[in-house]
Amino acid sequence: MKGRPLRFQLALIGHLVRREFVLSYRRSTLGFLWSLLLPLAQLLVLVLVFDTIVPLGIPRYPAFVFSGLLPWTWFSTCVSMACGLFITNRDLVRHPDFRPAVLMVVTAIAGMITYLAALPILLVVMVTHGQWIGPAVLFFPVLGLIEGVLIVGLGLLVATLNVFYRDIQYLTGVGLMLLFYLTPVFYRPPDATRGGLGLLYDLNPMAGLVQGYRAIFFDGTMPSLLALGIATALSSLLALVGYAVYRRSEHDMIDAL
């Protein structure tokens, strides 16, 4: 597909996204429902723990958590899937006319579709808590684009390195677990955290993004443009690094698979 018209590339990506879903849910009775049930289950756990057992005292907590949990799920699912990306899709990677990086885009799009499919549920959760969405949701495509770039960039890095060093998949698992707690998914970050711990939020693009999503859905306010700017810069940087690493190894990868 190198050098083929854009139309073909788009058709191919569309086909591969469909293939991704077919492969994920083959031979499961509930199929696509699982990608909605899993975040719902996680929501249930978080609500149980932080609204009932150790209450954080955040009002309308289910809607609060869910607005951050969905983008986090998109991110973490894609990045952990990236580990095995080139290994399980050996048939495509070894195809002479195929650019393996396309697979990461496909994975990100498939995750995005799952995210979009879960948005009505978020709406239901919010409405049951007496809340409606405001015009701030128009920022959603911007946030989605930044997160998409982040996912593809980090995913390419992880996917490429894991072909050569299988340690990466374990490191990624640990890293994602740590990052989950360092990202304000189920809590509000303490306000006065400049310097020290605050740096962790500043340097974590997912922190800015999750807070952005929460602002537009849950708070109905504009996301912090500063936070978005930082997230954009960091995501682009990661994407550049990820793509550079991938490009350097693109051809050697085939020999290692």
């Binding site: 083929r4 492969l23 048939d91 006319d97 051809h251 020999d255």
Partner: protein, 409 residues
């Protein structure tokens, strides 16, 4: 020129498993200790150059591990050479090693669609050819099963059918015709011939030299990653046989620890790791014979011995009339065909009818490792066979006893 493929001074090396740091720890430690990682590379190809003109058919032969598959992968653009370059004009359709083209969890139909779309067809265009592909592959009953459940033969049929129906102009085929039943192989060969007649360019490897001779105009012989020769099939096959003989000599010398004169008594050749110690020809009743009447049965019994290092061998039995091969049968794995080999033993080959014209023939036997990389033992024209016949057959020449009946109409 209108070369569609040009290979220019291509070398390719792989890291052998020993030197590739498979874990981060190993990589870090390796970097810290400045350990030399330079040795332990395997050069699969060295300085290979050749080109393929539009419409040509080039066969690539060589012993196991000579670099054939590596070369074909590079031709297709899978991986890139360590040095040198491969120029391709237009798309190259590759039928490479089995097991790499399809996703095992997807059905044949789904894989076919992906394959077609990767070649730049739209979904509708692939769907339009789908029935034709499935019919050619004869997979109507299995096309909606996951490919992982396919046998190698079914897999190859699907791969071949898909590749042939995507309008290739340059086709690179790696040994895939070796699997599958004889009838389907014949169908594939016929299809490849049609492809050739239609102006298609073909590069293929095969262990079946008759396939190579039948399809190719030129044959490239690879020996340890280098081009030994590129010539017409006849010359190239002779070169290949010579190389095999040299390999046998080298191996025999290594085993003996000194240079060895291989031709044991002018007509015998081999490393002697496995040996044919006796060949007996007998008639149907078991009586030893050295001659028989045209059309009579013949039993060839041979006693063999082997060194403990040899666990399996390929066996050929042939009848020659001077240098003309009248007949040859190959058993690629004696262990698989006759049960595990004893240290010594006897195998029996019964020919119910030997339809040879009267004359002098020789029974030729050979023992090889299953890869056919060199020769254990080969008896060339050591076992004579005389065929008698009715004197009336004087007007017939040749080797095969056909019985022409003339009449006037």
């Amino acid at each position: 020129m209108d070369d569609v493929l040009a290979v220019e001074k291509v070398s390719k090396r792989y890291r052998t498993a020993r030197t590739r740091p498979v874990t981060l720890k190993a990589a870090v430690l390796g970097a810290l200790s400045r350990e030399q990682l330079d040795d332990g590379y395997h050069w699969a190809l060295r300085d290979v150059s050749f080109s393929v003109a539009h419409g040509d058919a080039v066969g690539i032969i060589g012993h196991n591990g000579a670099g054939k598959s590596t070369l074909l992968r590079l031709l297709c653009g899978v991986g890139r050479p360590t040095s040198g370059r491969v120029r391709r004009v237009g798309p190259v359709q590759g039928l490479l090693e089995l097991g790499s083209g399809f996703h095992g969890d997807l059905t044949g139909r789904e894989n076919l669609l992906t394959g077609g779309m990767l070649c730049g067809l739209s979904e509708r265009e692939v769907r339009a050819r789908e029935d034709e592909i499935i019919a050619f592959a004869e997979l109507e009953d299995f096309i909606d099963q996951p490919v992982r459940t396919y046998s190698t033969g079914m897999y190859m049929r699907l791969a071949f059918a898909t590749a042939m129906h995507l309008d290739p102009t340059v086709l690179v085929v790696d040994e895939v015709l070796a699997v599958g039943d004889a009838r389907f192989q014949a169908k594939c060969l016929a299809r490849l011939k049609t492809f050739r007649t239609g102006g298609g360019t073909l590069v293929m490897t095969s262990h079946a030299m008759d396939q190579i001779s039948a399809l190719c105009d030129e044959v490239l012989v690879l020996e340890d990653g280098r081009v030994a020769t590129m010539a017409d099939p006849e010359t190239a096959l002779r070169c290949y046989d010579d190389l095999m003989r040299q390999r046998t000599e080298r191996r025999a010398a290594t085993l003996a620890g000194r240079p060895v004169e291989l031709a044991v008594d002018g007509s015998r050749l081999g490393t002697q790791e496995a040996r044919v110690v006796a060949v007996r020809l007998s008639d149907a009743d078991g009586g030893a014979v050295s001659s028989l009447r045209s059309g009579d049965p013949l039993v060839i019994e041979l006693d063999y011995e082997r060194d403990p290092s040899v666990s399996d061998a390929a066996l050929t039995v042939a009848i020659f009339h001077e240098a003309t091969k009248c007949f040859e049968v190959t058993t690629e794995s004696m262990a698989a065909t006759f049960a595990p080999l004893g240290m010594r033993g006897t195998v029996r080959c019964e020919l119910p009818r030997v339809p040879l014209l009267p004359g002098n023939y020789h029974v030729t036997v050979g023992l090889y490792p299953p890869t056919f990389d060199f020769t254990y033992d080969y008896h060339w024209q050591m076992h004579g066979l005389h065929v008698d016949g009715p004197a009336s057959a004087r007007s017939i020449t040749g080797v095969v006893a056909v019985e022409p009946v003339w009449s006037r109409r």
